[in-house]
Amino acid sequence: MTGSQYLLLASFGAPLGLLIACLWEAPRRRLPGLLWLAPLPALAAALLAADGPPLVLDPARLRFTLALDAPSALLLGAVALLWSAAGAYAHGYLGGKPGARRFALWWLVTLSGSLGVFVAADLVSFYLAFALVSLPAFGLIVQDGTPRARRAGEVTLLLAVLGEVALLLGFALLGDAVPGPSLAIADALAALPDSPARSMVVGLLVAGFGLKAGLVPLHVWLPLAHPAAPMPASAVLSGAIVKAGIIGLLRFLPPDAADWGGVLAGLGLATAFWGVGCGITQDNPKTVLAYSTVSQMGVTVAALGMGLALAVPGTAMAVAFYAAHHVLAKGALFLAVGVGAVLGGARRRTLVLLPALVLALGFGGMPGTGGALAKAAVKPQLGDGLPGLLAALSAMGSTLLMLHFTRRLAAVRPAAARSVPILAPVLLAAWLGMAAAALLLPWALYRPLGLGNPWDVLGKDLAMALWPVLAGALLAIALARWGGRLPRVPEGDLLVLTGRAGGLGEAIGAAVARLEAALRAWPVAGMALLALILALFGTMLAAAR
C-alpha cells in the first residue's frame, strides 16, 4: 500500500480513530480541544494523494475501494479546512458547556462521513459514508435542546431518511445492472446506459443527492436546520455537509446524461432564484445565509446540468472549484456571525463587518475576489444565451441577498452579558483564517487546476462582471428602505404545506389502527384463517388446472 493509499484510509479513519479513543477517560476529557486535529489527514490526502492509485481492501469478498480524483481532492481539501477551522471554533464556542462532549461525539461521526463521501469509490462504502453524514447531523442540530432545534432536527432526520431510501433504491437498481459481483462505482456507471431502469436510477439518485444539496422542493430542511444548530455546526452544515450532495451528483451522473442535464439546469436556476426570493424576507442573519446556500447550490447544480447538456469538457473541475469557493466563503460567513454576536464597537466594524462585506460581494462576482474566479470557472458552462443571462441575474440576486445579510449582521446587538464574556482568541483566529482562505486560495489554485490565468480574468470585460454587483447594490438600498412591506415567509417556507400532510398521516394511522383492532377480535381472526385456507387452495387449484 503506497503512502497516498494510507492517506486515503487516514482521511476518514482519523475521526473514527479519535471516536474509538474516547472510550478511555483521558482523551474523552480533552475531546473538544482535539476536534480541529481530526480533519488534518484528509487535508494532507487532498494535497498529496490526488489522482493516486485506488485502494482496494479485501478484493475477494468485500471489495471495499477508496479513490480520489482531482475534483474530489479539491473539494476534500476545502471541506477539511472548513471542518478544521470550525472544530477550533467549536472548542472555543462550546468550552465548558454541559453537552460539549456529546456534541463532540456527534461531530466526529458526521466528520468521518463527510470526509468519507469524497474518498469512497464503491456503492456500499459510499452509501455507508452518506448515511454517516446525514443521520448523525441530527445530533448536531438538537444540541441546544430547544423545541425549535428538536423540530428542525426531526424534519432534517425524516428528510435525510427519505433521501437514504431513495439512494438505497437507486443503488439496488445500479447494483442489479452490474453484470459481475463487483460493486465499484466505475463499473456501475459503465453498466448504467444499457440497464432497462436507467431513467429511474438517475431520477432516484438526483432526488437523493438533490435533497442533500437543497434543490427547490426538497430544500425545506436547510433553512430550518442551519439557524437552529449551534454556530460551528451551522458553518459545517452549510459549508461541508451540503457538498455531499454535490459530490454525489458529480460522481454518479453518467457523462451521457444529456437529457438530465437540462432538467438539472432548470432545477438549479429555479432554486437559485427561490433562495434569493425567500432570503431577502428573513431577519435572522443565519437564516439569510441558509437561503444563500440554497441559492448558491442551485447555481452549482445549474452549472453541472448545463455542462452535461452541452457536454463541455472539464465540467467536473469547474463545478468543484465553484463549490469549493462556496465551502470556504459560506463557512467563513457563518463564523463571522458567531464572532459578530460577541465583538462590539469599532473592533467589530474592522474585524468582522469589513471582511464579511468583501466576502458577500464575492458571491456576487465582484472582480478581484475569489467569487469572481469561481464565476469565471463555470463561465464555459453557463457562458452565453439564456442560461448566461439567468446566471448573471442570479449573481445580482446573490449580491442583493448578501448585502441584506451584511445589513442584518450589522444590526445584531452584541448582548452585554453574553455567555462568552471574553472573546476567545481562537474564535477570531478561525474566522479570519477562513476569510483569508476564501479570498486567497481561489487565486492560488486557479492556475494549477488548469482553469487558466487568474490575472487575465481580472483584466477581461470588467463591465460584464461589474453590472450584476452594481445592480444588486441598488436593489439592496431599495430593499433597505421598503423591505418592511415584503410578506414574512416562515423559515421552512414550503414546510407549512406539509402541516396538513401530517394530519393526513395521522388519519391513515388511526384508520389502520382501527382495522387492526377489529382484526384482533377472535371470530374475525378465526374467519380470516379459514378464508386464508380457501384462498390458498383456490389459487393453487386454479394454477394446477
Binding site: P523, V524, G526, M527, L530, A531, I533, L534, F537
Partner: protein, 321 residues
C-alpha cells in the same frame, strides 16, 4: 353387496349419524354442563367408530384418554367455572358473524370431504412393511412396534411433553402455593356409595390396567391405555378422600413422572453401544428391553395423567408438623 355388507353399511351410517348428532348437541347445548355430558357421549360413540375402522388400540385410547380423562377434566372445570353467563352472551358474535363463520367452516369441511374422497383408495400405506417388520422383533402388535421401534422418537418426545405439561400446570399456581398438594382437597368419606366404589374398584382396576399395559406388545393395549386406567383408579380413591395427592416438591413423584422418558432415553443411548444406533434394539434383546420401557412408561403415564387431572396446587404447603 352381500347381506352383511349392507347391514354393516347401515350400522356404519347409523353410527356416523349418532356421532354427528352428539357433536351437534355438544355445540348447541344451552349450557356448558350438558355440553360436556354430550361430549362424553360423543367420545363413547367415537370409540365404536374406531372399532368399526379396525383400530382396537385407538378405540381403547380414545375411550381412556379422549373420552375418560378429558371428560373428567372438563367436568371438574365446568363445575368450578360457574357464572359469567352475561359476559358469555355479550361476547357471542351476532347473527351475521355466526352465519359467515358457518359458511366458511362449511366450505373448509366440504373441501376436506372432497379431498378425502379423492384420495387413492388402496392407499399407498406402510401396512405390509410394518406388519412384516413386527414379527422378527418378537412383537405381535404392529401398532406397538411402530410406537416403540419404528417411530420411537415420536413416543419419546410425546412422553417428554407429558412430563413438562405437568410442570406447566403446576407453575400456574401462585408462588405461595408451591410445595402444596395438587388439586382440591376432597373430604374423607368413610361410608356411602363413593367410599364403597373407592374400596371395591381400584384393586380390580389395577389388575386390568397392568394386564392391558402388559398385553400391549402382542395384542391391542399398551402403556397409554393401561396407564390411564391406573390413573383413573387413583382419581376414584382421591375423589373419595381415601388418598391425598403427594406434595409438588415430593422427589418420589418427580421420579415416577420422569421414569418412563428417562428409561427410554437411557435404553436409546445404550443403543449406540449394543445396537447400531440411537433407539435401536439388538434383535435378541428387543422384546425384553421394550417391556422394560413399557413398564416404566406406564408408571409415568399413570402419574402424569393423574396429576394433570388433579391440576395445580390450590393450598400453600402445610407447615411440617
Amino acid at each position: 353387496m352381500t347381506l352383511d355388507g349392507v347391514l354393516a353399511g347401515v350400522l356404519d351410517g347409523l353410527l356416523a349419524a349418532l356421532v354427528l348428532a352428539a357433536a351437534g348437541w355438544t355445540l348447541a347445548a344451552p349450557a356448558a354442563f350438558p355440553a360436556t355430558i354430550g361430549f362424553v357421549g360423543f367420545g363413547l360413540l367415537l370409540t365404536l367408530a374406531w372399532v368399526r375402522l379396525g383400530a382396537p388400540d385407538v378405540a381403547l385410547t380414545e375411550a381412556a384418554i379422549g373420552t375418560g380423562a378429558t371428560g373428567v377434566i372438563l367436568l371438574l372445570a365446568v363445575v368450578r367455572l360457574r357464572g359469567g353467563e352475561e359476559e358469555v352472551s355479550a361476547a357471542t358474535p351476532g347473527r351475521a358473524l355466526v352465519l359467515a363463520a358457518g359458511l366458511l367452516a362449511g366450505a373448509v369441511g366440504l373441501a376436506l370431504a372432497l379431498a378425502v374422497l379423492a384420495l387413492p383408495d388402496p392407499a399407498p400405506g406402510l401396512a405390509a412393511e410394518a406388519a412384516a417388520r413386527t414379527a422378527p422383533l418378537g412383537l405381535g402388535n404392529p401398532v406397538a412396534a411402530v410406537l416403540m421401534v419404528f417411530r420411537g422418537l415420536d413416543t419419546l418426545l410425546e412422553s417428554v411433553v407429558l412430563v413438562f405439561t405437568v410442570l406447566a400446570v403446576w407453575s400456574m399456581a401462585p408462588d405461595r402455593h408451591w410445595g402444596g398438594r395438587p388439586g382440591p382437597e376432597f373430604p374423607r368419606q368413610d361410608d356411602g356409595p363413593l367410599a364403597l366404589l373407592a374400596r371395591l374398584l381400584p384393586p380390580v382396576g389395577l389388575v386390568i390396567g397392568i394386564y392391558i399395559a402388559w398385553v400391549g406388545t402382542d395384542a391391542p393395549g399398551g402403556k397409554f391405555q393401561g396407564g390411564t386406567i391406573l390413573a383413573a383408579m387413583w382419581v376414584v380413591a382421591w375423589a373419595a378422600g381415601l388418598v391425598q395427592a403427594p406434595s409438588v416438591a415430593d422427589r418420589r413423584v418427580r421420579l415416577m413422572l420422569v421414569a418412563g422418558p428417562l428409561v427410554f432415553v437411557l435404553v436409546g443411548l445404550a443403543g449406540f453401544g449394543i445396537a447400531d444406533g440411537f433407539l435401536a434394539y439388538p434383535p435378541a434383546l428387543a422384546k425384553p428391553l421394550i417391556l422394560v420401557i413399557e413398564a416404566a412408561m406406564t408408571l409415568s403415564v399413570a402419574a402424569a395423567l393423574a396429576l394433570l387431572i388433579a391440576g395445580p396446587p390450590e393450598h400453600p404447603p402445610e407447615r411440617v408438623t
